[in-house]
């Protein structure tokens, strides 16, 4: 049994066989072959070596012709690796004596060399690890052991283990078979984490290197609550987890009974409890859990999950589907939040040194106005079907907001001229995600209809921490006092100016932190569908006076850790049911 600690990003527990993807996302097959077949298998392996060597020679020649002999040498070095007698002897032993399939032997041996090279603390040799993995990939390809999309042919439940998953890869996981996932890299606030929560897949990221230690099909437990992954668990552990799963299921059933009750505190304060979604099909799950509406519809996934740029009609259809399913409940459509780590099939930007500080979100939309206007048109047209609000992401300056609003007015004029059916009076709001927006919040309040605080980006930009970088993940804390002050300031100004304000970041899906947000004056939160029942339970278990006292105390604390410990402690007092496990 092997227990590895990572960062819990999506709650829940899943148990099942491992599907190990390497960092390129292809499958490393593991199988043993009958003794009678080993000679044929060895022949297959040698033939693959021959073909790869031939290809390397072609590569070497072509590269040498284009870039000179020196550049071509990289391939002759790879050829040398291939003709390494030591390597061949090792593989032969695995095939002939251990009866391993050619592909599995190749994968294990080359991965081990790559790992040894990667650990040498030498940048030159670490790059060689990539060469070794490259050869491995080519060999596996020649052996017919890799498919371009290993996830498309699943026919049994699996726990996905990978170096990393991109948000769009995660979004496209087949939920019927993928029960949970663990990755070597990644941080708590990355988009993959958000998507995992959206898909309600238990997930642990940032575990560090582990793929080379795990065989295909090993039994794995993903504990998305505690952030650990257990490989080859013993029976006692499996029993314990199954028992926990039962307790959790009972709690889920009890919480489900709250579905039709309002999100109202014990002393009668009504809180708007909405859901965050990426895809139209998620609306059902939100309504089944009693969401008041959609507080954040992340439309960029329309862009990320398609091979072609979505047309105005694609946008319109998706929005109309969401609006229709909501039956009059409000939906906040956030305009494209592309850029940085989220880019579709065509990159709209040149490669940037600091993409998170670069051309992303509203900045990208304002630079690509055709793209932006297409989306605005679709939103305004779809708005005739229900209660639609439009929100701009990552606004940092008044000028950006004004330019975006001006574009909306231009689109309104166009639609009017065309005689199209649309609404021109929808509320327009902005995300509060950068400290600059908070500093200028009183001025922004004069020009928008509502605010939504995006705590993920706000934490990132306040603390200068890239949320998907596991080396600094510990600094990425929603409960950092600096972040809390910015939230407090935003809520205070919003309430003073009667500008509705909500929280749609991950912070509001944490039951303990919700106590604080209520105490700070927040009366609208939007959370992943999975979190709705718990958050409703918290809201229905407390008084605003309790929460105000909690907020008062928290705002005197000095570190995220103190804040979280105190909040967890108070959650235990006020809603002990949610602290079991």
């Amino acid at each position: 049994m092997l227990e590895l600690q990572g960062i819990p990003v999506s709650p829940g527990v899943a148990i099942g066989p491992a599907l190990v993807l390497d960092d390129e996302g292809y499958r490393i097959p593991r199988c043993l072959i009958p003794a009678a077949d080993t000679s044929a298998e060895w022949g297959r392996l040698l033939s693959a070596f021959g073909k790869v060597a031939k290809q390397l020679e072609v590569n070497r020649k072509q590269t040498a012709e284009r870039l000179g002999e020196e550049a071509g040498r990289i391939f002759s070095a790879q050829q040398q690796m291939l003709s390494d007698p030591g390597l061949l002897a090792e593989l032969e032993g695995r095939v002939h004596e251990q009866h391993q399939s050619a592909a599995y032997a190749v994968s294990r041996v080359l991965h081990r060399y790559a790992e040894a090279l990667g650990k040498l603390n030498s940048p030159f040799l670490a790059e060689r690890a990539e060469d070794v993995l490259d050869i491995e990939k080519q060999l596996l390809h020649r052996l017919g052991a890799v498919t371009s999309d290993p996830l498309s042919n699943l026919d049994e439940p699996v726990i996905l283990l990978a170096r990393n998953l991109t948000p769009s890869e995660t979004a496209n996981l087949d939920r019927q078979f993928v029960r949970g996932f663990c990755t070597e890299i990644g941080g708590p606030g990355g988009h993959t984490a958000i998507v995992a929560k959206g898909l309600e897949l238990p997930a642990v990221v940032g575990i560090g290197q582990f793929l080379d230690r795990i065989g295909q099909g090993s039994q794995v437990i993903v504990d998305g609550d505690r952030g650990c992954m257990i490989v080859d668990p013993d029976q006692a552990t499996i029993d314990r987890y199954e028992e926990r799963a039962q307790i959790r299921q009972k709690l889920t059933l009890r919480l489900a009974e709250l579905r039709d009750l309002p999100a109202e505190t014990v002393d009668g304060h009504r809180v708007t409890l909405s859901a965050n979604i990426e895809f139209p099909h998620e609306v059902d799950a939100c309504l089944q859990r009693g969401a008041d509406g959609i507080g954040l519809y992340r439309t960029e996934f329309l862009y990320l999950s398609s091979d072609e740029e979505p047309s105005e009609e694609d946008h319109y259809q998706a929005y109309t589907e969401v609006i229709g399913a909501l039956q009059g409940r409000p939906v906040v459509i956030r305009t494209l939040d592309l850029g940085a780590d989220k880019m579709g099939h065509t990159s709209l930007t040149e490669p940037e040194n600091n993409p998170f500080l670069g051309l992303r979100s509203i900045r990208l939309s304002l630079k690509n106005q055709d793209l932006f206007r297409t989306q605005i048109r679709a939103v305004l047209r779809a708005a005739v079907h229900g209660d639609v609000r439009m929100m701009f992401p990552l606004i940092s300056t008044l000028q950006e907001l004004r330019t975006a609003r001006m574009l909306v007015n231009i689109v309104i004029d166009d639609l009017r001229e065309e005689g199209a059916e649309f609404r021109s009076d929808i509320p327009i709001g902005m995300m509060v995600e950068v400290p600059a927006a908070v500093i200028m919040i009183d001025r922004f309040a004069e020009e928008v209809d509502f605010f939504s605080i995006g705590t993920n980006d706000l934490v990132q930009y306040t603390l200068a921490v890239d949320r998907s970088n596991e080396s600094v993940a510990e600094l990425y804390q929603s409960s950092d006092p600096a972040v809390l002050r910015l939230i407090q300031q935003t809520v205070d100004v919003s309430n003073k100016t009667n500008t509705p304000v909500g929280i749609c970041g991950e912070m509001s899906s944490n039951p303990a932190r919700v106590l604080l947000l209520l105490g700070l004056g927040v009366r609208s939160v939007s959370v992943p569908p999975l979190a709705i029942p718990r958050i409703k339970k918290v809201i229905r278990s407390v008084t605003i006076a309790d929460c105000e006292e909690i907020a008062c105390r928290v705002m005197q604390l000095e570190s995220a850790r103190e804040v979280d410990l105190y909040l967890l402690d108070r959650l235990g007092d006020l809603v002990p049911e949610l602290v079991v496990q």
Partner: protein, 95 residues
């Protein structure tokens, strides 16, 4: 003397250490001989003909390595490999 053996200490002179190009050159050279040439760093040994294995020694500039050869042409093999180290694998001029 059908199966002679010999030993020698060498130092890695290359700025980038015993990286891919030297390892390749060394393997290529060693394979021209029948003898087995081993290169040893601390308690880790690698067959000079096994390039990946040599790379995993992670020998940086200045590292002292033990060379040993065994086989019919051990002396020639050893001196040829040692010469490569001495010449900085012919990349000192370039660096």
């Amino acid at each position: 003397m059908s199966n002679p053996s010999c030993q020698q200490i060498v130092v890695v002179k290359n700025e980038k250490g015993l990286h891919l190009r030297p390892a390749e050159l060394m393997a290529r050279l060693a394979m021209q001989y029948e003898a087995t040439v081993m290169v040893t760093k601390d308690d880790q040994s690698a067959d000079c003909k096994n390039m990946l294995s040599v790379l995993t020694l992670g020998a940086v500039q200045g590292t002292q390595l033990g060379l040993s050869a065994e086989g019919p042409d051990a002396a020639e093999a050893l001196s040829a490999v040692a010469e490569l180290f001495e010449a900085g694998f012919h990349e000192l001029d370039a660096e």
